[in-house]
């Protein structure tokens, strides 16, 4: 693999492929191939019988998809997933932006300290904190209900009541994730030229005014980006309900990924589960395209 000098610019030798091969092979075999296979799988009735003998698989075209849309549980899961993403997403953004503004405020000292503290929930192990929160939500002994009782509210059966279970999961997700977005927002805020604020102040604009007419517009590309990646992440909700509620009560926290897991790995209706996965894919693809479109509009 000796290369003549200056060849890096237009190498035709095998060197680049040598460097790429391990990654491409791994990603090809263990990611792209399965993704394509999933598409095929979703058109078959691969199930528990097929596990015993692959010969028991049939090609069923779109039957999994038609069954999916006639399956009430799928709609429940879809609805729950959107509930989580569309309510939890904006709340997370609001918390992140609020935290970013506070940490980044001109007067704030110990910026690094607060940033670190706010970021800690994000690095923690989701399963572990989900378990912790399960106890915080305990209707009788949980800290949360105790805190609410001080204000005369409660007690709320957070994870036991179908109405409250999803809000409870959202609240935990906001706590867990706001630190990540906050960092991105801080980076975005720091790119806003300080002069803009200075001239605004000279014009006598108040803090709120400054926020509305400088911060928000300047931050909007970041905002769109963060909104979309948060939403994409939230569409993949799994571990929280798995650990905290097992998808209940009354299916109120069954997300699409949880449903896919149950159908695929608990009941081995793999073909059917693959069709759920593809619907999820389509949703995420749509969200991404939306982002691209919005970004383009920003750019214009």
């Amino acid at each position: 693999m000796k290369k003549p000098s200056g060849a890096a610019a237009d190498s035709t030798s095998g060197a680049p492929w040598f460097f790429l091969a391990p990654a491409l092979i791994l990603i090809g075999i263990f990611f792209f191939l399965p993704v394509l296979a999933a598409l095929v799988l979703s058109l078959t009735d691969f199930d528990i019988y097929a596990v015993g003998d692959v010969g028991n698989t049939r090609f069923v075209w779109f039957r999994n998809y038609t069954r999916l849309v006639s399956h009430p549980l799928f709609w429940t899961a879809l609805q729950n997933t959107f509930y989580f993403a569309l309510v939890g997403g904006p709340l997370t953004l609001a918390a992140s932006l609020g935290a970013a503004l506070l940490v980044n405020a001109r007067l704030t000292r110990f910026k690094g300290f607060f940033r670190t503290i706010y970021f800690i929930p994000f690095v923690t192990t989701l399963v572990a904190v989900a378990i912790v929160w399960r106890y915080l939500y305990h209707p009788q002994y949980g800290l949360l209900n105790y805190a609410l009782s001080v204000f005369g509210i409660g007690p709320i059966d957070w994870l036991g009541n179908p109405k409250w279970a999803m809000p409870a999961i959202i609240l935990m997700a906001v706590w867990k994730n706001f630190g990540y977005n906050m960092l991105i927002f801080i980076a975005g805020l720091q790119e806003i030229p300080e002069e803009l604020y200075e001239s605004a102040r000279i014009d006598g604009a108040g803090a709120l005014r400054q926020f509305r007419s400088i911060t928000l517009p300047m931050l909007s590309p970041t905002l769109v980006f963060v909104a979309v990646i948060t939403m994409i992440g939230y569409f993949q909700l799994f571990a929280e309900p798995y650990v905290m509620t097992q998808g209940g009560p009354l299916r109120a926290t069954t997300s699409m990924v949880l449903l896919m897991y149950e159908e695929g790995f608990r009941w081995w209706r793999m073909g059917y589960a693959a069709s759920i996965a593809f619907v999820l894919f389509l949703i995420i693809l749509t969200a991404t395209l939306l982002q691209l479109r919005l970004q383009k509009r920003e750019a214009v």
């Binding site: 890096a8 035709t12 460097f19 791994l26 990603i27 990611f31 503290i117 793999m270 995420i284």
Partner: protein, 265 residues
């Protein structure tokens, strides 16, 4: 006012963790008392002892370490090679391959999981560490991160080495790698944390308790020990502690990675 809000925010962010630690030190039953206690009346380490003796948590600790460390090092190597090649070589098909890879970023991993499971079954890797490790050994995100960083390096440096007759691998190994150490550190921490915290895939692949990683074992325990609040808190502390330590010590690189890796998209 500003500080009041900041401090209240910080308290809220930390409260669940503080309670976790303190409940883990309470004697059995104290965490389920009314009104709830925030600090233990008397500190006990019995739950930690129980986790390591009766419940063999050490086993899961080792499993998690094996998986996370192996994934981190192999993926660092593999991703950096690929990222370097994309950044510094011109070859036919490069852009096409790169575009193909980037489409992968849009595909949720869950889509691949079902067939991947069947594939690993054929390979005999279900219920093995390799079944967890292999799919994590290369990551598109990692390749992108490295590529972006390597692109900013001057070509002259590499050309000079070529003139000296260094082999391509030597150039990568002894010139590129040392220079990109900062981004490698970032990627390493990222990979380590996300592998350590990963739940769904190990949950699917590992069926035998003795191979469980910590999060899987913890979820398993929590299904059986719902009543044992203090014990479960001790388990959570031990699961979170390693990532917290890694983060607190290396947060600078980690945080950089987030802003570099994401703002650019």
């Amino acid at each position: 006012m500003l500080y009041a809000t900041l401090v209240i925010g910080a308290l809220l962010a930390l409260l669940p963790m503080v309670w976790m630690v303190s409940a883990s030190l309470m004697p059995q039953g104290e965490a389920s008392s009314y009104p709830p206690r925030i600090f233990p009346r008397a500190v006990t380490f019995e739950h930690y002892a129980a986790l390591f003796t009766r419940l063999e948590l050490g086993r899961f600790f080792i499993n998690s370490s094996i998986v996370a460390v192996t994934v981190t090092f192999t993926s660092l190597f593999i991703n950096s090679m690929a990222g370097y090649a994309f950044a510094k070589f011109h070859f036919r098909g490069r852009d096409r391959v790169f575009r193909l890879l980037s489409t992968g970023l849009v595909i949720p991993v869950q889509v691949a999981m079902l067939p991947l499971f069947l594939l690993l079954k054929e390979l005999g890797l279900i219920n093995t560490y390799w079944g967890v490790i292999i799919p994590g050994m290369a990551s598109i995100f990692g390749i992108f991160l490295i590529r972006q960083y390597v692109m900013s390096l001057p070509d002259d440096m590499l050309d000079a080495a070529r003139i000296d007759g260094a082999g391509e691998f030597r150039i990568y190994w002894s010139i590129v790698l040392p220079v990109i150490r900062p981004i490698l550190a970032t990627l390493a921490i990222w990979t380590f944390l996300s592998t350590w915290n990963d739940f769904m895939w190990p949950l699917i692949v590992l069926s035998e308790e003795s191979r469980y990683t910590l999060p899987v074992a913890l979820a398993n325990l929590s299904g059986e020990h719902v009543q044992d609040t203090e014990l479960m808190m001790a388990g959570s502390v031990l699961t979170i502690l390693p990532v917290l330590i890694v983060f607190l010590f290396l947060q600078r690189s980690y945080v950089q990675g987030i802003t570099v890796g994401s703002v650019k998209g």
